[in-house]
């Protein structure tokens, strides 16, 4: 392309750079994930990436878009990684393939591809899997020792190819969010639940460390100005506020702030999911409202809803509201009183 008009200089930024930075920022979290729960998650990420790239290639061919240009933008990879990190690492391979195909083909390209998808593609993929295969999607691994031992890897491969039935349920345990929800429903109170369940303590630690690793990656993204502070900071503050409020009122039935911040997908959501620019709001105020509403919805679904975790539904619901949010939060233009 010949530049006939100004400006004639450009910052060396590209969509590819942005997407690669996002992927790099996920790596610390991924490393700890592997350390605590085994290589299953790596298999997920690998198969999701492969499926995403192949699906993307064929859809681009069908849409008569240059695959080389669009494949290298990295957006398909980011969606694949986010999906892979959101589903249990002990899910069989076809779950990942189905989810990724749905993410890329339907949630992304049916809506017009890069830049046009109104919903977060990874969250659509996740929601479809959760609703279609609830049994698989709610079985989370228990932490394992020597996650990189040959035995652990062999087991992970077996689960990956044949599903859990071949290995047995010994590998699974409820997530902290799930466990506490179930116990509370049975009339227990929080102090008792945590004391009684020794395993919960260790799971908390491993989940917390993974969360903190995501936080680290998120801080890098903030520092590199890949994402603006509005979304993650508002999200974390809002979630803290509402969980703190409920905990203050009734500590026996409502978990602490740190429990909500460091469990489930909170950090992934704050820095990597709601920060998806395509399906999110663009105005600063809009970002604040969006993040606030997602946080409230996540809390409501976690605490009062039928699902242990509510990020996907909260994000998808708020995606619908984005045009309205943007419209209502237009910033004041220079010189307009």
């Amino acid at each position: 392309m010949i530049n006939q008009q100004s400006p004639f200089i450009q910052k060396a930024a590209s969509v590819t750079n942005i997407m690669l930075m996002v992927i790099l920022a996920l790596v610390p979290g991924l490393i700890f994930y592997v350390y605590f729960f085994g290589v299953g998650v790596l298999l997920n990420v690998f198969v999701a990436s492969l499926t995403a790239l192949i699906a993307e290639y064929f859809v681009l061919k069908m849409r008569k878009l240059p695959p080389k240009v669009y494949l290298s933008d990295g957006s398909a990879l980011v969606a694949a990684w986010l999906l892979a990190l959101s589903i249990p690492s002990i899910a069989p391979w076809w779950i990942i393939v189905v989810g990724t195909l749905f993410t890329i083909v339907i949630a992304k390209h049916f809506y017009g591809g890069l830049g046009s998808n109104i919903f977060n593609p990874a969250m659509i993929g996740y929601a479809v899997l959760l609703i279609s295969f609830p049994a698989i999607m709610t079985k989370w691994p228990s932490p394992i020792e020597n996650s990189l031992s040959i035995e652990s890897i062999r087991q992970a491969l077996q689960v990956f190819f044949y599903g859990l039935t071949q290995v047995g349920d010994g590998l699974t345990s409820a997530t902290p969010l799930d466990y506490i929800k179930t116990e509370l429903l049975q009339g227990q109170i929080l102090p008792d639940i945590t004391i009684r369940n020794v395993g919960l303590a260790t799971i908390l630690t491993s989940n917390q460390i993974i969360s903190l690793a995501y936080l680290l990656g998120g801080i890098v993204l903030l520092h590199k100005k890949i994402i603006s502070w509005h979304l993650p900071i508002t999200y974390l503050l809002s979630l803290s506020f509402i969980s703190g409020l409920f905990h203050l009122i009734d500590p026996n039935n409502y978990s602490t702030i740190s429990f909500h911040l460091l469990n489930g997908g909170t950090m992934l959501c704050a820095f990597f999911i709601i920060t998806d620019p395509v399906s999110g709001p663009t105005t600063p105020k809009g970002k604040i409202w969006f993040a606030f509403m997602v946080a409230i919805l996540v809390y409501v679904i976690r605490v009062f809803g039928g699902y242990p975790e509510g990020i996907a539904f909260a994000v998808i619901f708020m995606n619908i509201c984005v045009p309205l949010i943007d419209n209502l939060t237009q910033p004041k233009v220079f010189g307009h009183g």
Partner: protein
């Protein structure tokens, strides 16, 4: 004198690699007299200057060649002594690439001045001085080329003179070098401009990347309470008039308003020095400083006569003045590609960049907008460029207007930061021109419709009038009227008969 520290930051802006240092290592240079000078008759905003010399006439340096046509216009003077060779259409530095009328002057090499008439500005009425300035050919040398006398004229509403020394565009250093080398003239010029404006104080707004100039100016205004310096951060577009006023004063000039309504007037440093030279030395506007930079071997600033062929400067700076080259006039952010290297230096030409190939050829693919809003973060007007882009590309012009498309100053910050490599400003230019031409077409259509409505109304009226007239004429002879007349006659007859009868009776009775 004081240096003001507090600044009011506007939204966004960009910190680009300024590439300024390459052209500031050597002092301002002059080149030998060109073989010919080509002077376009329109180098300013407003009406074309009226030619006042004949072809073949010998003129002296500083002699009037063409006078201002009315108030919004500017004169053109002979940059050197010589012979007026021709008046014809020639290629000029204009984005359209279209030729325009130019006077060609063949220098005689003597460079003989006309009698210079300095003005004793302290003695005569300032209105009188401003009137003389309207004959000086001085226009805004920052690039806007608006006739300066118009900006000096005010009804005492201007309290503050803002001196635009920001020079925020990358590559350009002509104002910086001018301030370094002519700081005394600048300060004298500011005092003069303060007097002419009837203003009380002056603030020099300058980017912090010009420490040498700042130091020199600060020294000169040490004991002057009326002139101060405001150092603003190097963030493009700090030199944009409204942005600079905001940086300095915290006042946002509302859309459609002028700075004078807020008691401020802004001049570029080069313009002020031109004023100084005209008033103190009696020299009209015949030269300017221009930065020649980019691919050339020795980027430099030149003091050149207007009309000097650009190719002479490019060659002097060690560049290739070939037709194949690409030359950008102005900065890389808002400048435009010159139609050719064979154009003359004009009053607007502050910088020419011998462009690197990557400035002209963009090999990065254009991807869809991912709504990352980097553009909105960079927009100094606080617009939402991603929305404007969306509306512009889908021809939803009304929505684009509602999102304040016409507030866009086309500074290029959005295009600069766009990771999808979208030429955003070009979309806005397109949308603006479409809206303007639509509006024009609508106006034309409105006029045509009005004319047609009027015609139809006239025809209808004429028809009605005609019908009325015919009816009236008919009515005059209508049966109604006749019978009425007959009735009246009959009535008269019967009355008369009655009278006769009664008279007969009374006679009988007598």
């Amino acid at each position: 004198m004081n240096i003001i520290d507090t600044i009011f930051k506007f939204n966004g802006g960009i910190k680009a690699d300024t590439k300024k240092s390459v052209s500031t290592v050597r002092p301002i240079k002059k080149i030998k007299m060109p073989k010919q000078l080509i002077l376009p008759l329109r180098q300013h905003v407003g009406k074309v200057a009226k030619l006042k010399v004949n072809i073949g006439e010998k003129v002296l340096k500083g002699q009037l060649l063409a006078e201002a046509d009315g108030n919004v216009s500017a004169a053109i003077h002979a940059p050197t002594s010589g012979t007026v060779a021709s008046l014809e259409k020639q290629l000029i530095p204009h984005p359209s690439g279209l030729p325009d009328y130019c006077v060609t002057l063949i220098p005689d090499g003597k460079d003989t001045w006309v009698e210079k008439k300095p003005i004793n500005w302290k003695k005569i009425d300032r209105k009188e001085t401003i009137k003389k300035i309207s004959e000086s050919g001085i226009v805004g040398l920052g690039g806007a080329t608006f006739p300066t006398h118009l900006k000096l004229n005010n009804n005492n509403e201007v309290k503050t003179l803002i001196v635009n020394a920001a020079e925020c565009e990358p590559y350009i250093t002509c104002d910086d070098m001018l301030m370094r080398e002519k700081s005394a003239e600048l300060i004298e010029g500011i005092r003069l401009a303060l007097h002419l404006l009837g203003a009380q104080n002056a603030i020099i707004g300058i980017e912090d990347n010009k420490p040498e100039a700042i130091e020199k100016l600060a020294l000169l205004i040490k004991n002057d309470a009326n002139i101060s310096i405001k150092i603003v951060p190097t963030i493009y577009p700090s030199g944009d008039a409204k942005r600079l006023i905001y940086l300095i004063t915290g006042i946002q000039i509302a859309k459609g308003k002028r700075s004078t309504e807020y008691g401020m007037q802004m001049f570029n440093v080069a313009t002020i020095i031109a004023l100084y030279k005209f008033i103190h030395c009696g020299e009209p506007s015949i030269t300017r400083i221009i930065t020649i930079t980019g691919k050339v071997r020795t980027p430099n600033n030149y003091e050149v006569l207007f009309g000097t062929p650009l190719s002479d400067l490019i060659i002097d700076a060690g560049g290739k003045a070939s037709q194949n080259g690409s030359f950008i006039m102005g900065g890389p952010m808002m400048g435009y590609k010159l139609p050719s290297v064979n154009v003359p230096v004009t009053k607007a030409m502050n910088c020419v960049i011998d462009a690197e190939p990557e400035m002209i050829e963009n090999n990065n693919p254009v991807l869809p907008c991912i709504r990352c809003a980097k553009c909105a973060e960079a927009c100094p007007v606080n617009l939402q460029p991603q929305e404007l882009f969306w509306f512009s590309q889908s021809n939803q012009f009304e929505k684009a207007e509602n999102y304040n498309l016409f507030d866009c100053i086309e500074c290029g910050c959005c295009s600069y930061v766009c990771p999808s490599n979208i030429p955003l400003v070009q979309y806005y230019r397109y949308a603006k021109s479409e809206i303007i031409s639509d509006r024009y077409a609508k106006e034309e259509a409105d006029i045509a419709r009005e004319r047609n409505d009027f015609r139809l109304e006239r025809l209808q009226r004429e028809k009605e009038e005609r019908a009325k007239k015919i009816a009236e004429r008919k009515a005059n002879t209508s049966s109604d009227e006749k019978s009425k007349v007959i009735d009246e006659k009959r009535k008269a007859i019967t009355e008369a008969l009655e009278r006769v009868k009664q008279e007969g009776v009374s006679e009988k009775n007598d």
